[in-house]
C-alpha cells in the first residue's frame, strides 16, 4: 500500500484541481445535454422509417447517447495539456527527479484528470437524463438503468477497463507530445480517430456490415462501444466476457507500448526552458 501512495496523491491532487472549475463544468454540461438531445432526435427520425434495419433498439440507442454524453470526458480526445506544458517549460525535469516510475506517475495523473472531469458531469447527467426526463413524462427518451443485475455487475469491470484503456491511449499521445513538442498536431490526428473508432460518433454496428470484423477487434472499441453494449446487455454471456477480455488485452498491450516508448523518449529528451 505504501508503494502506491505517491501515485494516489498525484491522482488526488489533479482531481481536486479540476473540481475547482464548477461554472465551466455546468456550462459544459448544458452543452452536452443539448448535444445528446440532437443526436437522439436524429436517431428517432431514422428509427421512425425503418426501425428493423437498426442493430439495437431505439431505447438502447437513447441510453447509448446519454451514457456517451455523461462519460465524454473519459475519452482520450486530446493529450493532457499539462504534459505538453511541462515539456516546453522544462518542468518535466522535476518529474525525472522523482523517485517514482515515470510512466506510472503520468498515468495516475492522467486517470485523475479524466475522472475528475467526467464524474461530476456523469452525476448531473444521471439526474437530468435518468431521473428528470422520466418524471416529466419523457420516459421514452430517458437514460435507462442497466438491463438486469448481470449487466450492471459486468459494467463495473467494463467501466474500470474503459478508463484504464482511455488513459493508456492518452499516455501514448502524451509521449508523442513530449517527443515532438507539438500538441496540436497530435490532437488533430487523435481526436477524429477516437471519435469514430471508439463508437462515440455512432455505435460501431451502425457502420456498414462489411467493416464489422475490423471495427469489433480494434483497440478503440473498448472505449465506448464494448462497455456500453455490456450496459444494456447487447453483449451478454460469453460475448460480454470476450468484450472484457478485448478491453483488458488492449489495455495491457498499449501500456506495454507506452512504457517502451516512454523509456526511449526519456533517454533522448532534451530539457527546454531555463
Amino acid at each position: 500500500m505504501a508503494a502506491a501512495r505517491p501515485y494516489l496523491a498525484a491522482f488526488r491532487a489533479r482531481c481536486q484541481l479540476m473540481l475547482q472549475y464548477r461554472a465551466a463544468a455546468l456550462a459544459g454540461f448544458a452543452t452536452q445535454l443539448w448535444w445528446g438531445a440532437i443526436r437522439i432526435l436524429v436517431f428517432a427520425a431514422f428509427y421512425g422509417v425503418n426501425a428493423a434495419a437498426a442493430p439495437i433498439s431505439l431505447a438502447d440507442a437513447v441510453t447509448y447517447v446519454w451514457l456517451g454524453q455523461a462519460l465524454l470526458a473519459l475519452q482520450p480526445w486530446i493529450a493532457d495539456p499539462e504534459i505538453g506544458l511541462a515539456v516546453r517549460t522544462g518542468g518535466v525535469g522535476y518529474d525525472r527527479l522523482r523517485p517514482l516510475d515515470a510512466y506510472g506517475y503520468w498515468y495516475a495523473r492522467s486517470v485523475g484528470w479524466m475522472l475528475a472531469r467526467a464524474l461530476p458531469r456523469a452525476v448531473l447527467m444521471v439526474l437530468a437524463a435518468g431521473i428528470v426526463l422520466p418524471l416529466v413524462g419523457l420516459g421514452d427518451w430517458a437514460w435507462r438503468p442497466p438491463s438486469g443485475v448481470t449487466a450492471a455487475l459486468l459494467f463495473v469491470p467494463a467501466f474500470a477497463l474503459m478508463t484504464m484503456l482511455g488513459a493508456a491511449v492518452l499516455m501514448l499521445a502524451n509521449i508523442i507530445v513530449a517527443a515532438s513538442l507539438n500538441e496540436r498536431g497530435v490532437n488533430a490526428v487523435l481526436t477524429p480517430l477516437v471519435i469514430v473508432f471508439s463508437g462515440s460518433l455512432l455505435p460501431l454496428d451502425f457502420y456498414p456490415d462489411a467493416l464489422r470484423p475490423f471495427l469489433h477487434v480494434q483497440p478503440l472499441a473498448g472505449l465506448v462501444d464494448i462497455p456500453f453494449r455490456i450496459y444494456f446487455a447487447d453483449l451478454k454471456g460469453a460475448a460480454a466476457l470476450q468484450g472484457l477480455a478485448l478491453q483488458a488485452g488492449w489495455t495491457v498491450v498499449l501500456i506495454g507500448l507506452g512504457r517502451l516508448a516512454m523509456e526511449r523518449m526519456m533517454r533522448r529528451l532534451e530539457m527546454q526552458g531555463g
Partner: protein
C-alpha cells in the same frame, strides 16, 4: 480612411501574421478539416443502414450538410473577435482600449482576427458538395448558383448574429460562455440533416426561434427543385435566407443595448 478600407487593412494584417507560420497554418487547417469531416461519415452510415428518410437519399442530405458547413465555416472565420470577446476583451479590460479608438467597436472586433484554419471545414464541405452533385442531378445554372450564394450569405449572417449575441452576453456575464456553442455547433449539427425528418416542435424552433431552416432547408429545396414536403409555398423558398440578415440586425440591436450598460472590469 473609410470603414471598408480599414476593415480591409485589418484583414490583410491578420492574413500576413498567419502567413509568417505557413506550416502551422496548413496543419491547423488540415486538422480542422479532419475533425469536422467525420460528421459526414455519421450521415453516410445512417443513410446506408436505414435507407431513405423523409423522402431524402444520402446525396440530397449531403447537399444540406455541405451548405450548412460552408456557411458556418465562413462565419466562424470572420467572427473570431466576437467569439473571444468575453475572455479576451471584457474580462481583461482590453475593451476599454477598443472604445477609446474613434471607430465603431463592432468593426474593430470584426477585424480582430481572420482565422484561415477555419477554412478546413469549408474544404471538406466543398468536397462533399462536389460529391453530392455527382450523386443527385443538380442543374447548376445561373439561378441555382444565385440561390446557393444568397443562401450562404444569409447563413453567414445568421451564424455571425449568434456570435454577436454570444459577445453581447459577455456584457452581463463578463466571461464568454461555452453555452452558446449550443446555438453555433449545435445549430450546424441540427441543420445538416433535412428539417422535415425532425419532430414538429423542433422544426418550429429551427424556423421561428433560430431561423436555420430559412438559410439551409428552404433554399436547398429550391436548389434541388423539390416542393416542400411540409407545404411551404414554392415562391417562399428562395426568399427565406433574408431571415438570416434580420437575425443579424436584431443581434446588433442587442449589442447596442449591451454596449450602453458596459462598465469596465479593468483597474
Amino acid at each position: 480612411m473609410n470603414a471598408l478600407a480599414l476593415y480591409g487593412r485589418y484583414v490583410a494584417t491578420s492574413l500576413r501574421a498567419q502567413a509568417q507560420y505557413p506550416t502551422a497554418t496548413l496543419m491547423l487547417t488540415a486538422g480542422h478539416c479532419a475533425a469536422t469531416a467525420i460528421e459526414i461519415l455519421c450521415v453516410f452510415a445512417l443513410f446506408h443502414r436505414f435507407g431513405s428518410v423523409g423522402g431524402w437519399t444520402f446525396g440530397e442530405a449531403a447537399v444540406f450538410y455541405a451548405l450548412v458547413n460552408i456557411m458556418f465555416s465562413l462565419a466562424d472565420m470572420l467572427s473570431r473577435g466576437f467569439e473571444v470577446f468575453g475572455t479576451d476583451f471584457v474580462r481583461t479590460g482590453a475593451f476599454d482600449r477598443v472604445l477609446l479608438r474613434p471607430r465603431a467597436a463592432a468593426l474593430q472586433l470584426a477585424g480582430y482576427e481572420v482565422r484561415l484554419s477555419r477554412l478546413g471545414r469549408l474544404l471538406q464541405a466543398a468536397v462533399v458538395l462536389v460529391f453530392a452533385t455527382s450523386l443527385v442531378p443538380i442543374a447548376w445554372d445561373a439561378s441555382t448558383i444565385a440561390i446557393a450564394v444568397w443562401a450562404v450569405a444569409g447563413g453567414v449572417a445568421l451564424f455571425m448574429g449568434i456570435l454577436v449575441l454570444q459577445a453581447t452576453l459577455a456584457f452581463w456575464t463578463v466571461d464568454s460562455l461555452e453555452i452558446m456553442n449550443v446555438l453555433t455547433y449545435g445549430g450546424v449539427q441540427a441543420a445538416q440533416y433535412p428539417l422535415n425528418i425532425y419532430a414538429a416542435w423542433f422544426r418550429q424552433v429551427l424556423t421561428f426561434g433560430l431561423p436555420l431552416a430559412c438559410v439551409a432547408y428552404y433554399p436547398v429545396l429550391a436548389i434541388l427543385k423539390r416542393p416542400d414536403p411540409l407545404g411551404a409555398p414554392d415562391w417562399l423558398l428562395p426568399l427565406a435566407p433574408i431571415a438570416g440578415f434580420a437575425f443579424l440586425a436584431l443581434s446588433f440591436v442587442a449589442w447596442r443595448a449591451g454596449m450602453a450598460r458596459y462598465t469596465s472590469t479593468g483597474s
